[in-house]
Amino acid sequence: MTYHADERGYYGEFGGAYIPEMLYPNCEELRQNYLRIMAEPSFQEEFHQLLKDYVGRPTPLYFAKRLSEKYNTKIYLKREDLCHTGAHKVNNTIGQILMAKKLGKNRIIAETGAGQHGVATATVCALMGIKCVVYMGEIDIARQAPNVARMKMLGAEVRPALSGSRTLKDATNEAIRDWINNPVDTHYIIGSVVGPHPYPDMVARFQSVISEEVKSQLQEKEGRENPDYVVACVGGGSNAAGAFYHYLDEPEVGIIAVEAAGKGIHSGESAATSALGKVGIIHGSKTLLMQTADGQITEPYSISAGLDYPGVGPLHAHLYVSGRGEFISITDDEAMKAGLGLCELEGIIPAIESSHALAIFEDRKFKEEDIVVVNLSGRGDKDLQNYIDYFNL
C-alpha cells in the first residue's frame, strides 16, 4: 500500500491526465523523461547545489518554545519562510527550470495567483537567462502590485488573464492555452501539485526536500526521524505534499492538512475543497473540486490568495477520501489571529497561508509529549497590506 502516485499518475481514483490531444505530446514528453532526468547524477548535483547555495537550504527546523508552552505540546516549525524569495515555491521552480533545460526548452510559462510562484519562476528564469511569461488574473494583478513589480524587475513578462473570473484558475487556463499554442519550445512550470500527470508527482518530488530535511533534523534534535504529526496548509497543496512526502507511507505519523474556510465553510465564500468539493476534472486532473451541480467550476474565496484555488491536488484528494489525512478548515479570522500570535510569541511574521496551519492549535488538542511539525511555508512580507487592513496597524 502506498500513497504515492502510480506510474500512470493516479493516487487511488484521483489524478491521471485528462488533457486535450493538443497537450498530449508536451505531457507525454515530460512523462517519459522526468524520472530519468531527475535520477541523473548531474541533475541531482546541480539541483542540490542550487538549493544549498542559492535557495539557502537546508531551512532550519526550529523548536517553537513559547508557542509549545501556550498549546502544551512540542511544536517544531519547518522554516520554509527563510527560503530565497520567501516561500517553499522556489524548491519546485529550481527543479523545473533544470528539467526544462534538459528537455531543450528555451521559453518558460507559469501561472500565479498571489504572485509567489510567479516570482519564484521569474527568479529562476533570470538565474538561467531564459525567457519567462507569467499569467496572472487581472484582478490579482490589481491586488498584488508588489509581486507584479518583482516579476518585472526579474525580467518576466506578466500577462493578464482576462477570461472567466480573472483569478488563479483563469491564469492557469491561460497558461495551458499558451502551451497549446507553443508546444515545441516552451516548458510550463506549474506551481502546485495540480494539473495532468506527471505534474503532481514531479512537483511533489521537488518539494519532498522539505520532509527529507525534517527527518534528519528531527533525528538530530529528538533522536527519532518521525514526528507524531506533520501539519501543512493546502490550497493546491505543494508545500503540504513536500512536508508529507516522506511520511505518507509511515502510518504512525499523523498527517494534518489545513484548508481555508474563508468566511465559514457554508458561507458561500470559502476554499475548503475537501468539505465542499465533488469528484471532477480540473486543469487536466481528476480530483476534488468546487463546482455547481452541473459541473461548472466555481470561484473559491480565502483571505489568503495562495489557498484560493477551487481544486486540490490529486494526492490530497486521495489522502482525504482514504482517511489517511485529517482535514481541518480554518476561517480568515482564525488564521489572522494565529498569524499575529506567532509574531508575538516567536518573532516570526508568517504568510497568511501558513497562518492557517498555525491556527489549528486553538481547537485541535495534542498530547504534551507529541511532536508536531508545522510547515511554515512562507513569510508574511507579501501580506503586510492585508495584516495592516485587518488589524488597523
Partner: protein, 253 residues
C-alpha cells in the same frame, strides 16, 4: 445506420458548423440548428458550454461565459433538444468538456443523447486511454460515435491508434493552437494535411481550427473529407444574431 456515418458516405465535402448552446440568447438553440440544416450544412456540433474551456480561444470562451450567464445547463439543453428530430435530420454532435458530462453521469448522458437523437460526442479532454478503458462500451451501447482529435504534433503511431479507436471521422486540428487563434493556412498545414492523407487512414478526416471562409474551407478540404467552422460562426452570431445564418453559410460554399 448512424447519421454521421451515412453523411460521410456521400460524395461531397462536409461542412460542419459549431455553435455554443445558449448563445447569443438562451433559447436560440433549435432555431440555429434548423437554419443551419435549411442552408445546406452537413453536420452540426452543439457546444455544451463550460466555465473553463481550456482548448478554446477568446471567441468561444466569451460565448460560453455568456451562455452560462444566460442560464444554459445540461438538463436545459436536453430539454430544448427533446423534439429536435421532429424537424431536422442532420447529424448532430454534442461537443463539450468532460466535467459536465461526468457530473451528469456518463451513462445517463449517453442515454439521453440516444433518446434525443444525438449521433456523436466530441469531448477533447476525455483522453483515448480513459475512453477505451472506462467508457467505450457505454458510448457503443447508446449508438454514439466518439470523435478524437489529432494535431500536427501527434505522432504517427498515435494517429494510427486513434484511427483504430475511431468509428466515424477524425477531427484534425489544423495547427498547434486554441480555437479561433489563427486564420488561414501556410505551407506547414498543407504539408501536414498531405502527410495525414498519405497515411490512408480508415476514418475520414475533418479539419477544424483556422477555417473561417470559402478560401480556407477549400484549402482544408482539398485532401480531406470536410471542415469545421466554429469561432467565425460565433462571431457572425455576435454581429448579426440568428436572423442571417444563411448569409454566413452561403459565403462558405
Amino acid at each position: 445506420m448512424n447519421r454521421i456515418k451515412q453523411k460521410l458516405q456521400e460524395d461531397k465535402k462536409i461542412l460542419s458548423i459549431y455553435f455554443t448552446a445558449g448563445y447569443p440568447q438562451l433559447n436560440d438553440t433549435v432555431k440555429i440548428i434548423q437554419d443551419l440544416e435549411k442552408n445546406g450544412v452537413d453536420l452540426i456540433e452543439i457546444g455544451l458550454p463550460f466555465s473553463d474551456p481550456l482548448a478554446d480561444g477568446p471567441t468561444i470562451q466569451e460565448s460560453s461565459t455568456i451562455a452560462l450567464k444566460n442560464g444554459m445547463h445540461t438538463e436545459l439543453l436536453f430539454e430544448q433538444l427533446k423534439d429536435i428530430r421532429e424537424t431536422v435530420s442532420i447529424p448532430l454532435i454534442i461537443m463539450g468538456y468532460f466535467n459536465p458530462v461526468f457530473q451528469y453521469g456518463v451513462e445517463a448522458f449517453c442515454q439521453k443523447c440516444q433518446e434525443i437523437g444525438i449521433d456523436g460526442l466530441i469531448l477533447p479532454d476525455l483522453p483515448l486511454d480513459v475512453y477505451q478503458e472506462e467508457y467505450e462500451p457505454i458510448f457503443k451501447k447508446y449508438g454514439l460515435i466518439n470523435v478524437f482529435l489529432i494535431t500536427p504534433q501527434t505522432s504517427e503511431a498515435r494517429v494510427r491508434a486513434i484511427d483504430k479507436a475511431s468509428d466515424g471521422f477524425i477531427y484534425m486540428v489544423s495547427s498547434a493552437s486554441t480555437t479561433g487563434a489563427k486564420s488561414g493556412f501556410g505551407a506547414e498545414q498543407t504539408q501536414y494535411f498531405n502527410r495525414i492523407a498519405s497515411m490512408e487512414l480508415n476514418n475520414p478526416q475533418i479539419v477544424g481550427f483556422g477555417i473561417s471562409n470559402s478560401e480556407t474551407f477549400d484549402q482544408a478540404t482539398k485532401n480531406t473529407k470536410g471542415a469545421i467552422i466554429g469561432s467565425a460562426f460565433i462571431k457572425h452570431l455576435t454581429q448579426n444574431g440568428v436572423e442571417q445564418i444563411g448569409d454566413f453559410v452561403n459565403q462558405i460554399r
